[in-house]
């Protein structure tokens, strides 16, 4: 499977997947014109990874603002992880946020609510 390496813009996050490492990173704001077009390949990549290899998968998220369709897309991806977790696969999410912006942490908590797999919300100091 070819890894994703999508450059970020002012309205869409940078997305980098590493099949060999079992990580997927998304960083930035997300209010693209067409969220489903942006996130479909990400969804497909995660689905394919989970179906193909037995190794752990970790999502590292540095997301700030998400519009409604991006929220939907992200929840669909988290659903894939939840399902895999139910089948005993090691999956995890690390949601990083700038400690100056506690709001982002509160929103990450909302996403975490229905997830039973490890979901860490980690504050970092801005440099």
């Amino acid at each position: 499977m070819i890894d994703l390496n999508i450059a970020g813009t002012s309205s869409s996050p940078a997305i980098v997947s590493r099949w060999a490492e079992g990580t997927l990173e998304m960083r930035g704001d997300s209010y693209p014109e067409n969220s489903f077009e942006l996130y479909q390949p990400v969804f497909d990549w995660v689905k394919r990874y989970l179906e193909t290899v037995e190794r752990p998968l970790t999502l590292n998220l540095y997301l700030l603002y998400l519009n409604t369709s991006s929220i939907k897309s992200l929840m669909d991806i988290l659903d894939l992880l939840e399902q895999a977790h139910g089948e005993g696969r090691p999956v995890a999410v690390n949601w990083y946020y700038d400690q100056d912006n506690e709001r982002v942490a509160e929103l990450a908590e909302e996403f975490k609510e229905d997830c039973s797999f490890p979901f860490a919300i980690i504050g970092y100091s801005p440099c």
């Binding site: 929220i71 909302e110 609510e113």
Partner: protein, 260 residues
């Protein structure tokens, strides 16, 4: 043993008995019995197939209901998260708006806000045929303060005077930092005589301020030009008039107010 089975066993027994073999009805009964058994078998098959259809249908509707509930839950969650993001954006917007209309040093409104406000008030007096008071004031010899005591002292003086000016106004009066050491006042529904009275009071308050600069009190004063903006006036003309009055106040010795 069920009735049906008992009945079948009885017929089978009758048909098997050697003494009935030559009975004229034997063949008829045997045929009838065979058809009966086929019918029963057929009926059972139909019932079994129909049951399976029913249970499949039941399963389908149960999984549809489950899917519907899941979708509904997801939708509610999306709406909730989306609302929170929107609230967050709205608050950021309000903060930005507040930052964009304030002067960072003095906390007063800035020139941009005042221009907006002036055109709103001008439209209002034009519609209502009323007027408002307008005043421009300037700190006397401000350049000298900067030169002698440094820019930090200059900033301190600006902040103290701004605080003093703002604190002496009525709630509905508007005061903005207009330029470097210039302040602009808008007094709604106030004629020039009343505006003069307010500015005189401000001038006296500033003269009594004497803030400590580098440990020693510094005498300060302001000069002001006052005018009244009437319904038919253009904002630009009223500002020019007030500016001209300020110029006169400066040239006739400072620490005074002039009405134009």
């Amino acid at each position: 043993m069920r009735d049906d089975e008992r009945f079948e066993a009885w017929i089978a027994e009758l048909l098997a008995a050697p003494e009935h073999r030559d009975h004229p009805l034997h063949e008829a009964l045997a045929t009838l019995f065979q058809r009966y058994q086929e019918q029963v078998h057929q009926l059972e098959r139909v019932a079994r197939i129909s049951d399976r259809y029913q249970s499949l249908e039941h399963e389908r509707s149960r999984s549809l209901a489950e899917r519907y509930r899941r979708q509904l839950r997801q939708l509610e969650k999306i709406a909730r998260i989306s609302d929170r993001y929107q609230t967050m954006l709205r608050e950021v917007n309000q903060t930005l708006r507040e930052l964009s209309i304030r002067d960072a040093l003095t906390g007063l409104y800035n020139r941009r806000y005042m221009l907006e406000r002036l055109s709103t008030e001008a439209a209002l007096v034009q519609r209502q045929g009323t007027s408002f008071g307008l005043a421009i004031c300037d700190i006397d010899h401000f350049k000298r303060i900067n030169d002698r005591h440094g820019h930090d002292a200059g900033d301190q003086v600006l902040a103290e005077i701004a605080c003093c000016l703002h604190g002496s106004l009525r709630d509905y009066d508007v005061c903005a930092r207009w330029g470097g050491e210039e302040f602009l006042f808008l007094f709604p529904e106030t004629d020039s005589a009343a505006a003069l009275a307010i500015m005189e009071r401000l001038r006296t308050t500033v003269a009594e301020l004497c803030p400590l600069i580098e440990g020693s009190p510094l005498a300060l004063s302001i000069s002001a030009g006052i005018t009244e903006h009437r319904a038919q006036d253009a904002i630009r003309d009223s500002l020019r008039r007030a500016d001209h009055a300020l110029y006169q106040a400066k040239h006739s010795g400072r620490n005074r107010c002039v009405v134009a």
